[in-house]
Symmetry: C2
């Protein structure tokens, strides 16, 4: 089992604001994909993220701790993703809100996992930008990192 | 043991050009850190990457296969890095040069590893930009991702 790990820090913002960007459809649509639907503010809720025309992911909310922690489980999407979990841990450190990210439970370090690792980094910088400036870079306006988008 | 994995694709370029950016001091200074010295074009050579004022890394070149593969071993730097290896695999895929990256041999998934994973992604996008446009974002002009720079 191998994991994707990342860490970013958003300046002059609060964990509450990042938590909102991770749990509301409006927040998620502001940094990950504009085509976001569902319910992210309650445990057991399901969020539907789509990236036309290539598909997307359905995430069940496993755990919520306001301004501290969000955990999702992938219940539908690419075979490599189904059953994996996505963990967000937030804390205040001086003037920064620190975001620790883990996408856990990949069975094999396939090439698609390499791609998703880099892509997650670029979306985390989009999240940072959203909470710092009000403007993220969600799909379809996301940063293209390769032939796989 | 845990690894950092990434994948980017540089458009309208050739593996030879990426290989040059990974093996020459001028190339490396164009995307990673302007303060690069040493010898990257021969196996056994040592490259010295510095990020004033916080230190840096010395890498010994373990393996070179022109336009295909570069492997470095960290021989000096932060304790978490020493002994780890950095692998670059290149190939042509249509109009793209695909770069598969692996930073292998971390003992523990510490918070610093999360940071380095995101930071590597941003430097890989700097490498992509350098070979595509002639302009990267090496330190000290690199993208700040957090309080840890």
């Amino acid at each position: 089992m191998v994991d994707i790990l990342h860490r970013v820090g958003a300046k002059a913002t609060a964990p509450e604001k990042v938590y909102e960007a991770l749990t509301t459809v409006e927040g998620l649509a502001g940094w990950w994909t504009e085509d976001t639907n569902g319910k992210g503010e309650v445990a057991g809720g399901v969020l539907e993220f789509r990236f036309p025309p290539v598909g997307g992911f359905d995430m069940e909310v496993l755990e919520l701790r306001p301004a501290e922690r969000v955990v999702w489980k992938v219940v539908d999407g690419p075979a490599e993703w189904v059953g994996t979990t996505v963990h967000w841990d937030l804390r205040q450190d001086g003037d920064f809100t620190i975001v620790l990210f883990k996408h856990q439970g990949w069975k094999e370090p396939v090439e698609f996992m390499h791609h998703c690792s880099t892509k997650w980094a670029s979306y985390l910088l989009s999240l940072k930008s959203l909470v710092e400036t009000g403007e993220g870079a969600p799909a379809p306006r996301d940063v293209q990192i390769s032939d796989w988008h």
